[in-house]
């Protein structure tokens, strides 16, 4: 059981990669963790780290708390930068067809002002703003319906007549009204959707008016 017959020896803090449970930190990826060991393990075997190119910070934080309906609320994405991806061949052991399943989705979060839960929608499933609007209505069907006012379809709460304006956050972090740019451009740049109460959206419209001048 000797440790010195030609096995790869993993320096305990080489490149800051070790395999203790990753604690939640605010550090950027690549920052070295403390030199805490996992017993005599690290020195002896060909480590997972030897085979990966980039540091993997697997978040062992579990799902955040959910509301009464059992719907999971996603944490608002913190200022943590996205972790790097692992590059081990053949890991995780899933078939290529399964890996392709995930790549094709562009899910973005949708929030309705006043609703206690977030939804996700795959923008690539729709071809037009009309389809998206209908989908949004279906998604929040307990709170929303579509009414036609002067040839314009609007999202409204049928109970109190409150109108909701669909807004979105674009790549640059700006909040825009949905519908102004061509559909494909919208899909490309939309990061998040928010159905804002009209009363709150006044500031948005006005600033758009100003920018048009």
């Amino acid at each position: 059981m000797s440790k010195e017959n030609g096995k790869h020896s993993l320096e305990s803090n080489a490149a800051g990669l070790n395999f203790e449970e990753t604690k939640l930190t605010l550090g950027l990826p690549g920052k070295t963790r403390g030199p805490t060991e996992i017993g005599a393990k690290s020195g002896t075997k060909r480590g997972y780290s030897d085979t990966i190119d980039l540091n993997v910070e697997s978040s062992s934080q579990k799902q955040s708390e959910s509301d009464d309906n059992g719907v999971v609320i996603d944490e608002a994405s913190a200022s943590k930068p996205p972790p790097a991806k692992a590059q081990v061949v053949g890991w995780p052991p899933v078939r290529a067809s399964r890996k392709n399943v995930m790549k094709s989705c562009k899910f973005i979060k949708v929030g309705l002002d006043g609703a206690p839960y977030l939804r996700k929608v795959d923008l690539e499933m729709y071809n037009s703003y009309n389809q998206l609007l209908t989908a949004l209505q279906d998604m929040f069907s307990s709170c929303l319906t579509i009414r036609n006012y002067l040839n314009e379809r609007k999202l409204m709460d049928p109970v109190n007549g409150m109108e909701y304006l669909p807004t979105y956050e674009d790549k640059d972090g700006d909040w825009m009204l949905v519908g102004d740019v061509p559909w494909t451009m919208f899909v490309e740049s939309c990061k998040r959707l928010r159905l804002m109460k009209r009363s709150e959206a006044i500031g948005l419209s006005i600033s758009k008016e100003i920018s048009k001048m």
């Binding site: 059981m1 000797s2 440790k3 017959n5 030609g6 096995k7 790869h8 395999f19 203790e20 449970e21 996992i38 017993g39 393990k41 002896t44 075997k45 060909r46 480590g47 997972y48 085979t51 993997v56 910070e57 697997s58 978040s59 062992s60 579990k62 799902q63 959910s66 309906n69 059992g70 719907v71 999971v72 972790p83 991806k85 692992a86 061949v89 053949g90 890991w91 995780p92 052991p93 899933v94 078939r95 290529a96 067809s97 399964r98 890996k99 399943v101 995930m102 989705c105 899910f107 839960y117 939804r119 996700k120 795959d122 499933m125 389809q131 209908t134 989908a135 279906d138 998604m139 069907s141």
Partner: protein, 573 residues
Amino acid sequence: MNYFPDEVIEHVFDYVTTHKDRNALSLVCKSWYRIERLSRLRVFIGNCYAISPERTVERFPGLRSLTLKGKPHFADFNLVPHEWGGFVFPWIEALARSRVALEELRLKRMVVSDESLELLSRSFANFKSLVLVSCEGFTTDGLAAIAANCRHLRELDLQENEIEDNRGQWLSCFADNCTSLVSLNFACLKGEINLAALERLVARSPDLRVLRVNRAVPLDALQKILMKAPQLVDLGTGSYVTDSRSDAYNKLKSTLLKCQSIRSLSGFLEVVPWCLPAFYPVCSNLTSLNLSYAPGIYGFELIKLIRHCVKLQRLWILDCIGDKGLSVVASTCKELQELRVFPSDPYGLGHAAVTEEGLVAISVGCPKLHSLLYFCQQMTNAALITVAKNCPNFIRFRLCILDPTKPDPVTSQPLDEGFGAIVQACKSLRRLSLTGLLTDQVFLYIGMYAEQLEMLSVAFAGDSDKGMLYVLRGCKKLRKLEIRDCPFGDVALLTDVGKYETMRSLWMSSCEVTLGACKTVARKMPSLNVEIINEHDQTEFCLDDDEQKVEKMYLYRTTVGPRTDAPEFVWTL
């Protein structure tokens, strides 16, 4: 020895159907060997290179069904180069030449050319069933040949194959008088299909029980098809996108009410989840549900759907179901026998994932569970010990922690004790896959307790040769051992080379095995093929340097010596 005429013995043999049992019969005496081989209808060959097509046909001239497996299992994860081998053509050629009355061909991980499919379609007048799993090398032209020429085709089942789509009209190639279809699965096809041809085909197939369509079949087409085939037992939807107020959706709702026979549901390759309520009436009858290709179903809608599936026995799902979702499964699906939870975010660092909590919940709620494949964020020893206690009936237990060397997050210990508990409690365990931080100790437990173990998959585990030796010495029924990225070397490989003759195959990649040791195995055991696969650094790899580490080694027992179709980067020693 024989007190009965051959016909009587043959009649008795008709009741013996499993391959293992038939093989056992053939070993009893010469005359039983003869009677058995002439009457064997179904032949199973777990490694296509273990025996030649000619000898197979010679021994079993009466065979009607042939099952062949080609590439090693790790080929599924891109560890085996595409051109490694596993060609079916020589088999079809041999069968055609010998005039075997082939009715069924089932292939897994083989290379199938259009030429093979053409030859197959023309050579066997009574051909009924083609099942291809994880195969590659053919196009829709090959499918067209099958459709056109196999007049009595009952089953065309394509599971997870790589098929090149030539935009042909293969579906239209089914003859107008072909009315025998029972099972049609083309979910893995990527291209467009002729919807009208599909509709007509379904309309003239009164015996159709299984239909799994691909992404190109939209909801309104599906509704029309279901109108013509309310007797379906197994349905795989294509693209399930609509809005809940549309005509098509409402029609589908009422059509589905008539489909009372559906027991298995899959697909939803594209889906709008708030249109799933149409399927609720179907859900209450389901025994099998596969949503593992449906990332669009998650959260609230998924849970609502699951709550209707009270009779479920098999569930394949993505990990975005979460631990809470698994609790719902545990409280709803009391008949659950098989669960597979796949990663929805294979590279990312999942907010969508499951942990040991979900698994424990399942073990509490589903005591009939015997098969598990579980991709998770983390696992604890305590959880595994609990699961072992709650579910001692596991036959297949495959755990994959996405960070493969992760210790128990609560205790920071390796997961040896947890897996030890599993192998100790589950006396019928036949298949096991391990991940997590693991030392030689877990292999000691496996060798000690896993008496029925037939297949073991190991990655990034162990400390020394002792680990592998515990397994080789202890697991008497071991047939397949596949190892990657473990510190097992020459001592482990060479200690008992005779063992490999009792197994189907051994795969070792990125371990510590040297070329010299592999050569030694090959020299001592002429009944094994020892293959070295070295795709990269071909110039650097020198067949004379015995000290050098071998990237990939695959050895298997065979009756026919080194194969002649190996590519240049595969050396048989």
